[in-house]
């Protein structure tokens, strides 16, 4: 097997993560070949909510840095990327959640992130779709939304990036084998193929977490923020069983995205009616007006979850030349810019834009075996 050297860097996967990495590498002067098999991707299935999360320092670092990059990129993005800085409203349905919201606001403000508490009695004025009796909300005005599939396409439209439709069947450091049997090589290979990463690297600690979404017909509705519940913060981290959380996102078309669910131990892509119903009832318990709207499509997708919820970004400790950018769970659209900048910095030995240790593949794969 004599591999053909095809580019400076091969990126496997043309989802939002592969696209962001390819774009950053191209910006650094690299010739990039992006290989994608055209599978059901998380990028096509996801919700594109761009949000700062602060459950731990690593999550805050990667989301805050990324939000800043999205705001810089925003004005350049074409219309069909549907980028908006519409803000997030975290709803508190009881005193406990209100206390959690206040604690969160203090933490965020301390980290330099703009946010404000909205008292319960002014919530309906801000978002008339909400029910009476909510205790309040935390508003993050600088969060946003994005239509990720078009943004990935836009990022890949670059003279230094070539794209090829093929399935990678085997990896060996900086060499990849395609389903045609052909071997290709480059200086570095970036693995950015979402939940399918384990097909090529079974040692990666990545598990699929299924999620359902629904989109409504267009209505002249007045929803402006992405509306989500604070108890989402706790249900996200349940490690077993099916859970639902209220997430309502206005699309620039006048449609609403309604989510979301989380399920482990399944790779069945079908919509499951019982869980979809539970999810919608739950959302309608915060926003009763939803029940009158017509849902025109529902679908499910898979998040690539790691045990600690943080992605794997960096060189594979046992495979020199193979770089990982996988495991972005439910936040990969948000965290694509930080992933790309960090990966490029590590690849070229430059200053890390955010501290890299929390995302280092070595935390699961051990230390490098090579010098």
């Amino acid at each position: 097997m004599k591999p053909t050297r095809v580019a400076d860097v091969i990126v496997i996967g043309a989802g939002i993560i592969g696209a962001a990495c390819a774009r950053e590498l191209a910006r650094c002067g690299q010739q990039v070949l992006v290989i994608d098999a055209g599978l059901h991707s998380a990028t096509a299935a996801g919700m594109g909510h761009l949000l700062v999360l602060d459950d731990n320092q690593a999550e805050l670092d990667i989301s805050r840095y990324s939000l800043r990059r999205w705001r810089e990129l925003g004005p350049q993005l074409p219309d069909d990327c549907a980028y908006r800085s519409n803000g997030t409203l975290w709803l508190a349905a009881n005193e406990q959640e209100l206390a959690a919201a206040e604690a969160k606001s203090i933490n965020l403000r301390g980290e330099g992130i703009r946010c404000e508490m909205i008292p319960g009695h002014s919530l309906q004025e801000m978002e008339p779709i909400l029910r009476d009796g909510l205790h309040g909300a935390l508003r993050l005005p600088d969060d946003g939304i994005l239509y990720a599939p078009n943004t990935a396409r836009w990022m890949l439209d670059n003279p230094r990036i070539r794209q090829r439709r093929a399935r990678v069947t085997e990896l060996d450091g900086n060499r990849v084998r395609l389903d045609s049997g052909e071997w290709l090589s480059s200086e570095a290979v970036v693995l950015a193929n979402g939940i399918q990463a384990v097909d090529l690297c079974p040692e990666l600690p990545i598990a699929p977490k299924k999620g359902h979404l629904l989109i409504t017909d267009r209505y002249p509705h007045p929803v402006t923020h992405t509306i989500t519940e604070l108890s989402y913060l706790t249900s996200v981290h349940n490690s077993s069983g099916a859970s639902v959380a209220c997430n309502i996102q206005p699309r620039p078309t006048g449609q609403l995205f309604i989510g979301t669910s989380r399920q482990f131990d399944t790779l069945d892509p079908e919509v499951e009616g019982w869980l979809l119903a539970r999810m919608l009832k739950h959302a309608a318990s915060y926003a009763p007006g939803l029940a009158k709207l017509n849902g025109i499509r529902a679908w499910a997708g898979f998040r690539a979850a790691t045990p600690d919820g943080m992605p794997l970004i960096g060189e594979h400790p046992a495979q020199p030349g193979l770089w990982l950018a996988v495991g972005h769970e439910g936040l990969g659209v948000t965290t694509a810019p930080a992933t790309a900048d960090l990966l490029a910095a590590l690849l070229f030995n430059e200053a890390e834009p955010i501290p890299a240790a929390a995302y280092a593949p070595g935390r699961y794969l051990g230390e490098p075996t090579h010098a």
Binding site: D217, R218, Y219, T253, K292, L293, N294, I296, R297
Partner: protein, 78 residues
Amino acid sequence: MPDLHLDGRPLCVAPGTTVAAALALGGDGSSRTSISGQRRAPLCGMGICQECRVSIDGVRRLACQTLCQDGMQVETQA
């Protein structure tokens, strides 16, 4: 014989006529206008494709799954 209004124009149809059929009988056959300004019309006829959504008495419904009733106000501009 149900008497209804299609985009404000009166229309009389045979009992058992679906709103999708009424669109063809009394209008341009279309159910709505898409976000890019195209007129869209019923396609699958069995409640799956969602192309035939119309406004009936102010509520968004599927024309192919709805029978015409006396006094209905059907709007195809949304």
